[in-house]
């Protein structure tokens, strides 16, 4: 899902019928907040390409992966990305 798609579909349901509702957009900081399963999640836009891989947490895009970061952060980012891919997989089954 891209940033634009996220904004274009403020309400959607996944395969399990869980409702995702976009609640806030902050154009000044490039972030958005959506509500899913009774919890709020923040999505941040990174760079010009707004490729959103992960909705449950901070957005990680390909451009950001090329940036040299400490190993701990890479490990954390990989974990978050895996969770996001799993979530996307459930959406594609819909």
């Amino acid at each position: 899902m891209t940033w634009d798609e996220l904004l274009a579909h403020p309400r959607s349901r996944d395969a399990d019928g869980v409702l995702t509702v976009l609640e806030e957009i902050d154009d000044d900081t490039g972030s958005a907040v959506y509500r899913r399963g009774g919890e709020s999640h923040t999505v941040r836009r990174i760079g010009q390409e707004l490729d959103v891989h992960v909705l449950h947490g901070e957005v990680v895009d390909e451009a950001a992966a090329k940036i040299k970061v400490p190993g701990t952060f890479r490990l954390a980012a990989a974990g978050v990305a895996a969770a996001g891919l799993a979530w996307l997989a459930t959406r594609r089954r819909a």
């Binding site: 509702v21 609640e23 806030e24 957009i25 902050d26 154009d27 000044d28 907040v33 509500r35």
Partner: protein, 250 residues
């Protein structure tokens, strides 16, 4: 009691909502005010237009906050973006209860036009502009038939602003007898009050006095002059005094 029979129409756009409105239709948003009136049969619309399918968004662009009319009060209360306007959360804490705020909408509070609405008082102090399906107005709009409130727009707060909202209600969560919303910043003062069944309004004399260096007591007394009756006047003076103190006025 249960409502009298009505036709139910659900829409997902403002254009469809306007098209669905008839002369004796009512608009259903959060339903926290409308449904009790329907159940008691104080209102008997022939058609109910449900606008819950219209997405409501809180959005900040170039420092200006835009709040969709269908945004839930609870969503605005927990909003990260709206933290830059703390008066909203300070006022929303007094609006009903968490259960009603989870369904009640921001636009519903404005459109229902109850003179004791805390949120409208806060919006008045924040210089809110209101966009309807037909126009843009500076103060809370009196909606014409087949006119709907679409969004509310708030300018950025002045640098260094402090805000406070104080009300007096006989029961927590009930409508207040009097309330004051205050925004204080260097060279800026905004006070909005309501009491005695009269809708929220600004207190320009008190605001001017504050900018000229008036004390809390002097400004509160000027704000209280806007209402009639000894008791409402005393209430307004006290809630205004407390709000000014909470906002950091010496």
């Amino acid at each position: 009691m249960k409502p009298a029979p009505f036709e139910y129409v659900a829409v997902d756009s403002w254009e469809a909502a306007v098209a669905a409105l008839t002369d004796d239709a009512q608009v259903l948003a959060g339903g926290q005010s409308l449904v009790p009136l329907l159940n008691r049969r104080l209102l008997r619309p022939t058609r109910l237009v449900d606008i819950n399918g219209i997405p409501g968004l809180i959005r900040r662009t170039d420092g200006v906050l835009r709040i969709g009319a269908t945004v839930r009060q609870a969503a605005l209360e927990r909003s990260v973006v709206a933290e830059h306007w703390p008066l909203l959360r300070q006022a929303l804490r007094h609006v009903g209860h968490p259960a009603t705020r989870s369904r009640g909408t921001v636009g519903g509070s404005v459109a229902h036009a109850d003179p004791r609405a805390e949120l409208v008082c806060a919006l008045t102090a924040l210089d809110a502009r209101y966009e309807t399906t037909e126009r843009v107005v500076e103060g809370p709009p009196v909606l014409a038939p087949r006119e709907l409130l679409v969004r509310i727009e708030l300018p950025p707060l002045p640098p260094g602003a402090h805000t406070a909202f104080v009300e007096h209600a006989r029961t927590r969560g009930d409508f207040a007898d009097a309330a004051a919303a205050v925004v204080l910043a260097p060279h800026h003062a905004a006070i909005a009050i309501f009491a005695a069944g009269r809708a929220a309004r600004r207190a320009p004399a008190a605001e001017r006095a504050l900018r000229d260096g008036a004390t809390v007591a002097e400004a509160a007394a000027l704000a209280a002059e806007l209402v009639d009756g000894d008791h409402p006047r005393a209430l307004v003076a006290e809630v205004t005094r407390r709000a000014l103190v909470q906002a950091g006025h010496a």
